[in-house]
Symmetry: C2
Subunit: 423 residues, 2 copies
């Protein structure tokens, strides 16, 4: 289903960081045939490395969790922006993909994705054009959010003029939060506008993002209010889609959202869509904290007897040990997220040795500069220039967007594929 | 001088964010012919916009400053990773380019750059391979840093085996700093290793990065010590290159480095190379603070009667005004640096109106999420969904690496080119 997308855009570039020797840009298949091995130093470090088995585990875990609640999964694709991973998620049972911006939607569309929830407002002439070009294809099912009459008016004008229809979800928000209507008056104005543009705009349900709230009680209250609004809208026949959609859930509180939405008693009238994105690679930061909470408190997660596992490492060389307790590694803010905790050494490997071993727990990343990381070690540790260190990360989204190509390895660290990103 | 680099890698992708309508990937020339205009909403926002006149002003300013001290400029290319901007810098008088990693060096080499200072250690098999492939070209002049005997040994083995010679600079460091030898004992060990591998390794001078220090007195002391070491090495005939090289200067303290190095009385024995990178676009954060200091204190800067100007904006739409004092804009951590101050609204424009005007000084970006920015406004401000806001940025490096394509506009906001990045 690829269209208009020239071949070069599908290739892994020979000028990318984090790959091995390429005489020229190559297809993913060509790269798998090169039989690079991470431990044989076939990859230029720093490199972002995805572990195939762990990715597949996480993918199955989340799908089972979602299925356990009888709801739908539309993973947030903004995390990875890797159509190859989108395909894995859809083949694993996902209902569709969630995305955040019009250019992201275009990437998914051009790669053959045919159901997208853009969990965001659609604003601006070019962004509307990008979406309209995809929506013109009747096989493409698309939803975006509205939270103001002003936005609905612009969308109505644009899509009506082109003889197209646009499916929208009403975004609900909370005071001090991000987007979304705050009260009944705002809601009423949006509904009026939707009614006014009924020849171009189809209201299909309700959306919220609970992640702007920080405590579980507030989140549950917000979710219940959203269920109430959804039920009211269905009863008042304000929703064109049957069943109506209700969508929520980032990567932290998807369990609570699943519980509350599933407990709302919607029956067949409402289809529930959850949108976590970070589960695919997981991390050792905020999402691991949330995962521990979920494994303890959630009956379905408990029953599965396993949890999400970190599936993405940044591998980097020690490039200098200028002080007994300081190892400088070749990994910086250009390579890894740093907004929600710094990367943590997980494994060490000395090229030529038997295999990687766990990094000492006392190794600590104390600072990142653009292209360097400071790692505090003990003076007695055997750390040398040229040692390879695998770092666990915090915040997958802001790590993925530092890489145009991420190698996928199997349990022997053989490179079995390369994932290309489109940020 | 391009080689091995397939055509597709030279094109602007049709799936990039921050560009206009492209039926397929296009060359830079094809894009200029499309006559996109930013204010006519021909570009999908958010977008990173470079102002041609301001870039050219900054380029001339820095070259004049550098020329004023009779020293050399090797702009740090890691900031932009845009070969088109490298070319402008070299055509403007730069001596060569500075880069931080082997893949960055390859990007420059493949785009025809023929003098590179890699202000970093070269570590690891693939990184050495990348550099060796370029160094095998006798027209390519390349330097990297060494600060340990262990690293020199690996480099010596690798390059000797291939019958190649590698030019290195000794990196000097400070206690609590990043890389670089800390004392005479470490220095001595590196010099011994360099001597041992004299058939493959050419010591060409001294390098430091003063930006790890925070106050001017410590920086001046560090610089003077480096001049002393350089003079000693030249006198002892330890340096193979004539003249020897001494290099320092990030984007904050280049004035102080120029002053100290120029005052060292090297004469013809030493060539001085400075490496600021952020001057090309400048910012309104830390670099603007430093610029104000320079304009006040530096005689050459004072004489020029002008300073660096911000030449890069992120343009974004207001997508929701859910509370009277909150405008949510479509710009987040995926689009702009946030590690050294948040972006600041500089201009506002309502599509269809006469032209942009200055944003009120009280508009403040209070928070960034992945794809959204929170802007605090006054309840009485006329802010609407669909308004375009131009944001000044802090920290150009971490803004550039969020974009694969940046549009260049002239004073009428006509798009006169697109710059492609290679991160």
């Amino acid at each position: 289903m690829k269209s208009k997308c020239m071949a070069g855009e599908e290739l892994i570039g020979s000028l990318n960081k984090g790959v091995g020797a390429l005489a020229q840009a190559a297809t993913e298949e060509e790269i798998a045939e090169l039989r690079w091995n991470l431990l044989k130093e076939d990859i230029s470090l720093p490199a972002a490395i995805l572990y195939r088995d762990r990715i597949e585990h996480n993918l199955r875990w989340m799908q089972r969790f979602i299925d356990g609640y009888g709801v739908r999964l539309a993973p947030h694709g903004k995390t990875t922006m890797a159509p190859k991973l989108f395909d894995m998620q859809l083949e694993g049972g996902a209902w569709g993909m969630t995305l955040a911006t019009a250019p992201q939607v275009r990437v998914a569309y051009e790669h053959g994705i045919r159901r997208v929830l853009m969990a965001n407002q659609l604003v601006g002439k070019q962004n509307m054009r990008i979406v309209a070009e995809a929506v013109a294809n009747p096989e493409f099912e698309f939803y975006c959010l509205v939270d103001s009459a002003a936005n609905v008016d612009r969308l109505g004008e644009y899509f009506l003029e082109r003889g197209l229809r646009l499916k929208v979800l009403l975004e609900l928000g909370v005071k001090g939060g991000r987007c979304g209507v705050r009260d009944e008056e705002q809601l009423g104005r949006v509904m009026q506008a939707v009614h006014h543009w009924r020849d171009a705009i189809d209201l299909c349900g309700v959306e919220l993002y609970e992640g702007v709230l920080k405590d579980e009680d507030s989140i549950r209250a917000f979710l219940r209010a959203a269920c109430h609004t959804t039920n009211w809208m269905v009863q008042e026949r304000l929703v064109k889609r049957k069943p109506a959609l209700i969508s929520g859930a980032g990567s932290a509180w998807y369990d609570v959202v699943a519980e509350e939405f599933a407990a709302a008693g919607f029956g067949d009238a409402v289809e529930i869509v959850l949108r976590p994105g970070c589960y695919l690679t997981h991390d050792v930061g905020n999402y691991e904290v949330q995962q521990q909470r979920i494994l303890k408190s959630n009956p379905i997660a408990r029953e599965m007897r396993s949890g999400l596992v970190p599936a993405l490492h940044i591998w980097a060389y020690v490039q200098s040990v200028p002080e007994p307790e300081l190892a400088v590694v070749g990994m910086g803010k250009r390579d890894v997220a740093f907004d929600s905790g710094l990367p943590r050494a997980a494994m060490r490997y000395r090229p030529g040795s038997a295999g990687p071993s766990a990094a000492p727990a006392h190794w600590e990343t104390t600072k990142l500069m653009d292209q360097h990381g400071y790692m505090r070690v003990a003076a007695s540790d055997d750390v040398r220039v040229g040692d390879m260190i695998a770092f666990n990360i915090s915040h997958p989204c802001l790590t993925f967007d530092k890489w145009r190509a991420l190698a996928i390895v199997d349990e022997k660290y053989d490179v079995v594929g390369v994932v290309k990103t489109y940020f």
